[in-house]
Amino acid sequence: MTATMDEQQEGTSRRNFLYIGTGAFASVGVASVIWPFVDQMNPDASQKALASIEVDIAPVAVGQAITVLWRGKPVFLRHRGAAEIEEAGKVDIGDLKDPQTDAERTKKPAWLIMVGICTHLGCVPNGQKSGDVKGDYNGWFCPCHGSHYDTSGRIRKGPAPLNLEVPEYSFLSDTKVKIG
């Protein structure tokens, strides 16, 4: 009898150990296999390869703007006039929803370069063409849900939470910009 009971007790604890051990190894194994199935959805190598472009800005006169496609997104390059720069510079930073000075948003005051995607829900704001509605602050206006941006692309009115994003860029020369 005693032998059987010892056996049972020993067997039970060995079993518990094996159950828990097997379960733990199985969980770790499954968890480590899940990641490739999830990560395959993230931007792939061909998407990442499109990460930078070079733009010739020589033909863009003062007061004009061009839109280029970078990573599938429109990028606004605006050649600003003195009035626009002055207007963007004299804004009281304390009034802004996403406080940023105009100097923080540009490398050369004449060139405002930013991703042309409204930070609310991703529409392309109007304001690149001379005939466009530019909103209450004379910059850009998003028609989808009514966000107004100023001449520095900062959010001034409407549901968007942030200023238009400034991408990573550098001037390769006076007439060439590398975005990304």
């Binding site: 959805m41 998407q47 997104k73 429109p74 930070t119 829900l121 529409c123 392309v124 549901p159 939470p161």
Partner: protein, 423 residues
């Protein structure tokens, strides 16, 4: 499925042999032929069968469309026109599929409102209700991704706005949107995976519809009186009484559907979707399909990005938890006049929100959307719980379904037998 004694008797030897090995004929007989169903069901109870028909239509036409459609950003738009012009009967398949989605939603909205009016979400049908909400959310996912596939302007920008909803999540929002897109904007990888998922969701839908019917057959149908079934007098076999009633309404629905398919096939679509997707130009007014408009109005009513997204998802979630907001034991609003009044106001508010969702977000439209959005939440979170506690019925409820149907005759079955012969 249900807790009923089976009275299926196989007639032939082979049927008996098969029944002992796989009782599928017994299941069909028990659940869909003799299944006891409240005798007083009205036409609001026919939507289940109508929805079943539209699910089948969507599955068949969808499988066919997938044989001719190309999920590539450069070719998708043209392949849809190819289906419309070149593929034999392609125009019919596509019109049936696109309009089928709308009729699916018409039927499901009637089905949901029927459940709300007659208290079909109350004990013991809470799980049935929750499974229904899961089905509704899956339907919205399928409809949204399906609308993206033609790769027109509204497809592209609808996809952009909806996927950007997730960018409102603090910290991880941008990573999530890039994960959903497979790129840095809605583009080829997004279209390709939406096609894959648009094919997956219907399989999930079929599975959840099965669970929904299972849950229904465990507890049985509710009915317009909201009374529980007390005796076999209260019920009739599902076939032929309710199969015929359901078939009749299905034919009515299919007739109206056919009219749309053949004569107004683009009525519920948007003209901008005849323009190929252009990531550089946003349409002046982005409008979702009509069945999303009330929620879109809620989204735009809140002047804050995260707040708007939370309100929009919250507007669906308050419907999901209705069984726990309304604990009044009386199911049917026939016997709750106060609750009925506020429910009718809610239906009107939901329709007005749909109207406002189609309008630009400016001027009085925004003000009206805010007031109506407030009512939506006040209705579920304040009015319903308060009435649930306060309201007691002021009309005498019938003692049973049979009483309700037969009036005095039902109460005196023995006397009624002799009396009825003289009628």
């Amino acid at each position: 499925m249900g807790h009923h004694e089976s009275n299926y008797e196989p007639k032939w030897g082979i049927a008996k042999w098969f029944d002992e090995r796989l009782p599928v004929a017994r299941m069909v007989s028990d659940q869909f032929i003799v299944f006891p169903t409240p005798r007083n069901l009205n036409y609001w109870w026919t939507m289940g069968m109508v929805l079943f028909f539209f699910l089948i239509i969507q599955l068949i036409t969808g499988i066919i469309l997938a044989m001719h459609y190309i999920p590539h950003a450069d070719m998708a738009f043209n392949s849809v026109e190819h289906i419309m012009r070149d593929v034999n009967w392609g125009w019919l398949m596509r019109n049936m599929h696109s309009n089928g989605a709308s009729f699916f939603f018409i039927a499901v909205y009637i089905h949901i409102l029927r459940g709300m009016y007659y208290g079909s979400y109350k004990a013991p049908r809470e799980v049935l209700w929750l499974v229904g909400i899961v089905i509704y959310i899956l339907m919205m996912a399928a409809a949204f991704m399906g609308y993206v596939l033609p790769w027109g302007q509204m497809s592209f920008w609808g996809a952009t706005v909806i996927t950007n909803l997730f960018s409102a999540i603090p910290l991880v929002g941008d990573s999530i949107t890039q994960f959903l897109w497979g790129a840095y904007a809605v583009s080829q990888p997004t279209l390709n995976r939406f096609f894959s998922l648009h094919y997956l969701v219907p399989m999930l839908l079929v599975a959840f519809v099965f669970i929904h019917v299972w849950a229904l057959h465990v507890v049985g149908s509710n009915n317009p009186e909201g009374l529980s079934v007390k005796s076999s007098d209260d019920t009739l076999p599902f076939h032929p009484y309710f199969t015929m009633k359901d078939m009749y309404m299905s034919v009515v629905f299919l007739t109206v559907y056919a009219f749309f398919v053949f004569y107004m096939s683009n009525y519920m679509g948007h003209p901008d979707n005849f323009i190929r997707a252009n990531p550089l130009v946003t349409p002046a007014h982005i409008v979702p399909e009509w069945y999303f408009l009330p929620f879109y109005a809620v989204l735009r009513a809140i002047p804050d990005k995260l707040g708007g997204v939370v309100a929009m998802f919250g507007a669906i979630m308050v419907v999901a938890v209705l069984p726990w907001l309304d604990r009044n034991p009386i199911r049917s609003l026939r016997y709750r006049p106060k609750a009925r009044f506020f429910f009718i106001v809610f239906v009107v508010v939901a329709m007005l929100l749909g109207f406002l969702g189609a309008k630009p977000a400016e001027g009085w439209y925004v003000t009206a959307s805010r007031i109506l959005t407030a009512y939506w939440f006040i209705y579920f979170l304040v009015i319903v719980p308060l009435l649930s506690k306060m309201e007691t019925t002021n009309r005498r409820m019938p003692g049973s379904i049979t009483d309700a149907v037969l009036g005095d005759h039902g109460k005196l079955p023995k006397d009624a037998q002799t009396a009825s012969s003289g009628q």
